[in-house]
Symmetry: C2
């Protein structure tokens, strides 16, 4: 069974908007035992939409389309859909009432533009949108080949032909299913989970899919590949390995498909045990773990707390931590001390230290970590100071120079790192490196509870 | 001239990695007068790569492919490329020396895996990679139709056929150009700018493209569409309008293409003047402006400074601000006061205020803003407090309740907002709303310089 995802939008094709919808849909399909085999992004033009639907009809069993259903005039999708499926728009009282209910809850009044959104193609099954005004639409259409075959077979006896046609219409596997969804991410996601996934499960038997991703921090892709070479060469044919590098992190994904979930899961897990023996010090987690979520779990278990003093990372570590719901249980706060004065005033870094060693130094990282730990009265504290770039370098401190300080219940230390030239990557690498240093430090101590 | 972008990678198709490469490439093409007409994402499988290259050959003039060139075993692209272009891999001494130079600079030793990366298809033009080990590759290939036509025409007189073939080989417009790039974003980007764009400009005349995006904050898409309806109906046929909503922000993009840059630019600018008169209070900037960059520019001009006290936004505003290189000129720092104790200790919020009004209240927002302003000795301060969700709601304060405080050189005020249910969206909406409140506040005051 082949699923193609089509995203419609000029804004994606000029790079103004990143296609996160496709990624999200694909992940959700996977979790439910389905697999996207292609993503296609096309423009908001009639010809291109018609062409892409036609191409998809010929190669896919299910086509999931998002975008182009908004209330505004750039949205020609609905008209083009009617052309492709040979139907017409009719006003749906039910759809209109939903829009009215939604708007009255928010205290808005329905506009003329919204009325247009209650017009739907006559031949579709319309899918409710709990969070917005654009409804989803489901169609089925036979491929031309199917159509042709039916016609040819029908030539012998007229009645036989009719019978074949009827049978094929009844058998949904000979049809391609098209589901149109709004492009606004949170509306699309709600509809996808509630309306699309259950329908796919009803029609198609999901395959057993097993992915497991091993998360590593601290070494680059080719360094890891070299250590893993023998193991990788001995992987069973049907287990695929992919290296997925991110700033500071390399993820290793093992994937396999099969008919029995327990069997494929067992195979992958056994390979991961072997892998673990080869690079134990690099692995920090699996799948959707993040360093911040793991640090959070450890601190929760140990009933301990964290604070942060950020210069180089400018609030990014605090943002990662506070993106986790419930982090207030173990995270007290952060001081983003961008100026020297704030390092002195709020984090008690000594003026003398700043003057004699400079803000980017081991001593300042140590004092910042201790300052945050004292200020927020936490068990642990992270501190970052460095030159993220592109400006700010000095003869002995090139762009990419970072010091990370870690204060613990019984001491403080700082480590030096030399990262690259790119500001954004440097901020991210420093953040994950700091969180991983903290994780390892917590793990050296027994759980007091 | 049609440009297709193909990204190869199972990790994209299972949703583990978001396809930011395509977005970046498309944006870079646009800036240089080119336009991507389709993105296609396919799996790391031989059949799928061959099929996608064949499809692209038939519909595109230029095909830009990224991914699948890494040093590790999941990369079968190079072998498949050889099959498609009917060539073979040979070891390139030059490519190998580049890898050695790159590694010795970083203090790494070359591994066997890296040696394989110096193997390149014999018939390609190889493109240097300054930042990594995988080289780019450029090929040209005629479409089958062209090949066939040449052959058919050749049937009449053998010599004529040869001549036609030679002419078509010489004329690059009858060829499709394929350029393969590594998938690692920063390597791909460097190569794209240095090697791809100049070659495209040499071969194809870039069209005049003019996009301008108007950035608005404060109202939703359908509210704006309603106000703009008449203006939108009267837009010239060749100017396209798109609504691009983001949390807290709606971007309105006007696009047009033509032969004369001055003319199309003039047309779009004149429409934007009319637009400006309709929603002056909602517009905060254009194109790649961000609220943080505009606030930064204003503060630089006014020689004034900013500090932040973040509870609900947890460091996200500080992260936005410090992602701007040079922000240390006007940004002093932020206190992420996640706990009540840190609000008291570091921001001088009174315990009494916290106890009688709760942490999510007008009074606390006011005191946090004043506390940050005093602490960091800045001209302005932003404060956020709220319930980002999904937990933390109380009977009178639902999830989505936020207070934003703004301290200025001559006072302080706070505003109440009720956003939605989604934690991430709430954090983003609060951040842009706070920055916009500050921007408006700064603009009410004359530039002291």
């Amino acid at each position: 069974m082949k699923i193609e995802i089509i995203n419609i939008g000029d804004e994606i094709l000029i790079g103004q908007v990143i296609n996160t919808n496709a990624a999200w849909m694909a992940e959700e399909l996977n979790r439910n035992g389905f697999k996207a085999f292609q993503f296609t992004v096309i423009s908001d033009s009639r010809e291109h939409i018609l062409q892409a639907l036609e191409d998809a009809l010929n190669r896919a069993d299910v086509v999931l389309i998002s975008g182009g259903l908004g209330p505004t005039k750039d949205d020609i999708t609905k008209e083009t859909i009617c052309e492709f499926f040979d139907t017409k728009l009719i006003f749906s009282e039910e759809a209109f009432q939903n829009i009215e209910t939604l708007f009255s809850r928010r205290g808005y009044t329905v506009t003329e533009v919204n009325r247009k959104q209650a017009e739907l193609p006559e031949s579709c099954i319309s899918l409710p949108n709990r969070l917005g005004t654009a409804r989803g639409m489901l169609f089925e259409r036979r491929t031309k080949e199917e159509g042709r075959r039916t016609k040819d077979e029908g030539r012998g006896t007229k009645d036989e032909g009719r019978e074949t046609k009827k049978l094929q219409t009844a058998n949904c596997k000979l049809q391609t299913v098209f589901i149109f969804l709004p492009g606004v991410p949170f509306e699309m996601k709600d509809m996808f989970t509630r309306e699309v996934i259950p329908r796919l499960k009803e029609r198609f038997a999901p395959q057993a899919i097993y992915h497991k991703t091993v998360l590593t921090q601290g070494k680059g892709e080719s360094f890891i590949a070299d250590i893993l070479e023998d193991w990788e060469n001995n992987l069973p044919e049907h287990i695929k390995l992919a290296y997925l590098p991110q700033p500071g992190i390399v993820r290793l994904r093992l994937s396999t498909w099969g008919s029995e979930e327990d069997v494929i899961k067992q195979e992958v897990e056994s390979e991961i045990s072997k892998l673990h023996q080869l690079i134990p010090e690099l692995i920090f987690g699996f799948d959707n773990d993040t360093l911040e979520s793991i640090v959070g779990q450890l601190l929760m278990q140990h009933k301990q707390t964290l604070s942060i003093a950020e210069s180089a990372t400018g609030g990014y570590i605090a943002h990662l931590v506070t993106s986790l719901s419930g982090s207030s249980a173990w995270f007290q706060g952060s001081v983003v001390a961008y100026s020297n004065r704030s390092k002195e005033d709020i984090l008690y870094v000594k003026r003398d230290t700043l003057e004699s060693h400079g803000a980017v130094s081991e001593q300042v990282a140590l004092e910042m970590a201790l300052g945050a730990r004292g200020r927020f009265r936490t068990d642990y504290a992270i501190a970052t100071t460095g030159i993220a770039g592109p400006s700010g370098e000095t003869p002995d401190k090139p762009v990419g120079t970072f010091w990370i300080g870690i204060a613990t219940p019984d001491g403080v230390f700082a480590k030096h790192f030399l990262f690259g030239d790119n500001r954004e990557r440097n901020i991210r690498r420093t953040a994950v490196t700091a969180l991983n240093l903290l994780r390892k430090e917590i793990l050296t101590r027994p759980n007091p509870y």
